[in-house]
Symmetry: C2
Subunit: 214 residues, 2 copies
């Protein structure tokens, strides 16, 4: 499928479309109008039509969207029709929680290895995946065709690990370390700064009496 240039704002929203369409599929809904989808998603129908037009548009006027087709096409755009091998660096609580989260695999994300610096953890397995030492990182990424590294390490170690990853063939980093990483531009970084998110919640709670602008 031919794609146009897509704005960051649309990309930001795509996974949400994918999620809602998946729920519709689970409920065996075959077709949905932009108007019904807009009510479910709490966005305007015009926003939905505009967003989906970025991908050539999948709907027909007065006939609605084919849910399965749209779900599949958005999945392809998101790269979910291909396998993505990933590793987790940092076998602490969060690393273990992500390693134990099965549903990633259903979307094509396959956990191949877990890395840590603590020698006591070496060889322990989580869901059958062994914990390895960081010295083997480069070779492991090379040999196992690893695309994504998930960083669940303290910020004090993040710089060092980012430097190590910069020398590998890694394509993307899902960064949970509480710092912004310095990396070559060809490596994509998606940050999940949990503390930032909690602070935003705290702000909104403290300012929820009407002074907040949308």
């Amino acid at each position: 499928m031919e794609e146009r240039e897509i704005s960051q704002a649309v990309i930001q929203r795509l996974p949400r479309y994918y999620r809602y369409l998946g729920d519709l599929l689970d409920n065996e809904v075959e077709r949905i109008s932009s108007s019904d989808l807009s009510k479910k998603m709490n966005v305007t129908a015009s926003q939905i039509r505009q967003d989906l037009n970025n991908f050539g548009g999948f709907g027909q006027q007065g006939y609605g969207y084919n849910v399965k087709y749209l779900y599949t096409e958005i999945g392809k755009i998101l790269g979910l029709d291909e396998k993505h091998n990933f590793i987790i660096i940092g076998a602490g609580n969060l690393g273990q929680a992500l390693a134990n989260y099965g549903p990633f695999e259903a979307s094509g994300f396959v956990l191949k290895g877990i890395f840590d610096v603590n020698p006591h953890l070496e060889g322990i397995t989580i869901r059958g995946v062994a914990i390895r030492m960081l010295k083997d990182l480069n070779q492991f990424i090379e040999e196992n065709d690893i695309e994504i590294a998930v960083l669940t390490i303290p910020k004090t170690n993040a710089g060092e690990v980012a430097d190590m990853l910069a020398d590998t063939k890694i394509k993307g980093i899902w960064n949970f370390a509480h710092t912004d990483l310095k990396l070559p531009k060809h490596i994509i970084v998606e940050n999940v700064h949990l503390s930032d998110s909690l602070m935003r919640l705290s702000y909104k709670i403290g300012h929820s009496t009407g002074r907040l602008t949308e």
Copy 2:
């Protein structure tokens, strides 16, 4: 301090300022110009000046910002000068990982209780905090002055738990369930949809050869 109306975009960025200023404090930096801060944060100096002007502006032309003062004031704006009692609902891997994450407490977020539906977990403690059953939720929130509920439950249970929370005095929900919650407007929801984030990373990896617009 008198506050003006603040846009969502600025609120989105505030925790990041707080994080960088905290790092500067850790490194015993007392003053920083908007220009030096802009280089560190990879945003324009004019953006920084505009953002911080929302709070009356803390800098003096040619003299820079007082790091400690700015850090403290932004902390107050984010509500971090007050304690926020929270509970975690869902004692699975992610719930346990968040329960074990100590640094939240340093920012004033105090874990008071953990809830689950699995009776085998009742009474088990994590960091000294006991796991309780959901039937005690309402009373516990009332008696312990709980402001925030962290939802680390499967999406299939999220609707039911959201309904339970709607009847309590909870002020905010930090939602990790992979669905959007329906709640009364006075309850603030901050979503962390991890799968959405991973899909965005996947999209960016698949489209990193130049067709992406900023």
